[in-house]
């Protein structure tokens, strides 16, 4: 059971940062995961008054505040156009509309959960995570931070790079956690592929051996997918074993590549 002794609406990021340095204090996201923990929180720090629930656009990027809901992200027209609908595909399978209205981008990312759909997609978009103290980090740098890092995720920056993006996932049943997630981005003949829910966090792969150098065909896509399925490290959990994930990986990567090529 979760207990909270004190609730504070932070008036500034500095105040939130100072408060979160104490081990028993917690920054609130959507509280969906936190609520299921057996934990005694001294102070719950709420960022809801800091204006971080907006998606803003500049000439070269989108900035997504930490308190933006997953539903807002799913429905954002600009991000949908940038990714050819990949955000909606990545998010629309997460539980239900009410859940996604409650869950926040910051909460979804800061946990660096292996099952995170959104983390898998952000990887191939070359998104940068802005932490209050650590500054701007790539997703890989962010994921490598120690679990006990006490910082505030402020916003996520997504560059407006023109890519063909496809997101696919496999679930044992609708609205469940994914068994495997896959995001593919094609840009100037280069391919970037992220595999998540392995059940470890998402990792990226590129076409290092030039399998796709003569173009994406059913044969080259299958070969590239098999290559990634062999290279990626998978684990087992209640939802699937290593071998199953490996096979699903080969299927999802192949389909995503062919879909990305068709446009």
């Amino acid at each position: 059971m979760l207990t909270i002794n004190q609730y504070v609406r932070a008036e500034s990021l500095e105040q939130a940062y100072e408060l979160c340095q104490k081990k028993r204090n917690v920054v609130l996201g959507g509280m969906l995961w936190l609520k299921m923990q057996h934990r005694n929180v001294e102070t719950a720090i709420d960022l809801c008054d800091l204006g971080l629930d907006q998606i803003t656009e500049t000439s070269d990027s989108y900035t997504i505040g930490a308190m933006v809901s997953l539903r807002t992200l799913e429905q954002h027209a600009g991000l949908a156009a940038l990714t050819q609908g990949a955000f909606a595909e990545a998010l629309s399978h997460i539980v239900g509309v009410q859940f996604r209205n409650t869950a926040t981008v910051g909460g979804s990312l800061f946990g660096r959960f292996g099952f995170s759909d959104v983390l898998t997609l952000f990887v191939v978009l070359d998104a940068k995570i802005e932490l209050y103290h650590h500054g701007m980090l790539s997703i890989a740098e962010f994921c490598a931070l120690p679990r006990n890092t006490r910082d505030i995720l402020v916003q996520v920056h997504v560059p407006k790079t023109q890519k063909r993006v496809v997101y696919l996932s496999q679930r044992n049943s609708a609205t469940d956690f994914p068994v495997l997630t896959c995001a593919v981005a094609l840009q100037d003949g280069n391919c970037q592929c992220a595999i998540g829910a392995r059940p470890l966090a998402a990792v990226t792969f590129t076409d290092e051996t030039g399998i796709l150098q003569n173009g994406i065909t059913p044969e080259s896509a299958a070969a590239f997918a098999q290559n990634i399925a062999q290279k990626a490290e998978f684990g087992k959990d209640i939802r699937a074993g290593v071998e199953y994930r490996k096979r699903v990986c080969a299927v999802l990567v192949r389909r995503a590549l062919l879909q990305a090529k068709e446009g």
Partner: protein
Amino acid sequence: MQIQMTLNQKKITAEIEADTLLLDFVRDHGCLSVKRGCETANCGLCTVLLDGVPVLSCSTLAARATGHHVQTLEGLQAEAEEFVGFIADQGAEQCGFCNPGFVMNTIALLRENPTPTDDEIRAYLAGNLCRCSGYDGQLRGIRAYLDWKEAQAK
């Protein structure tokens, strides 16, 4: 701590514990349509509208609702009345425990998208679980309501 919110058009000021969930708060204030179900944020029984947006009150602190408008089925009966009869006509539910959550989310759906397709209805209501009747009855009920509404408009 003290909070202030508007619950079903009524301004409320109350003393609460910091970890009081919105679900418990609204039930303590007479809104018993809001149910505690799965405790894992999956079933949608606890759905309320926060500033018009459907959220899970089981995972929202009452303190976070300070300064906001909260609506439960108790405050939306007139809006619900129009279509719940169509759901009942289909025998869509048996025990009815999931009904308030379904109705709340259907209200949100129809406000956002007054003419949804069957797939859009299924997608929007995916976060509302029913463990006795399945989902086809609810879908038929909403479709029958939308068809009736369309015929009325002609």
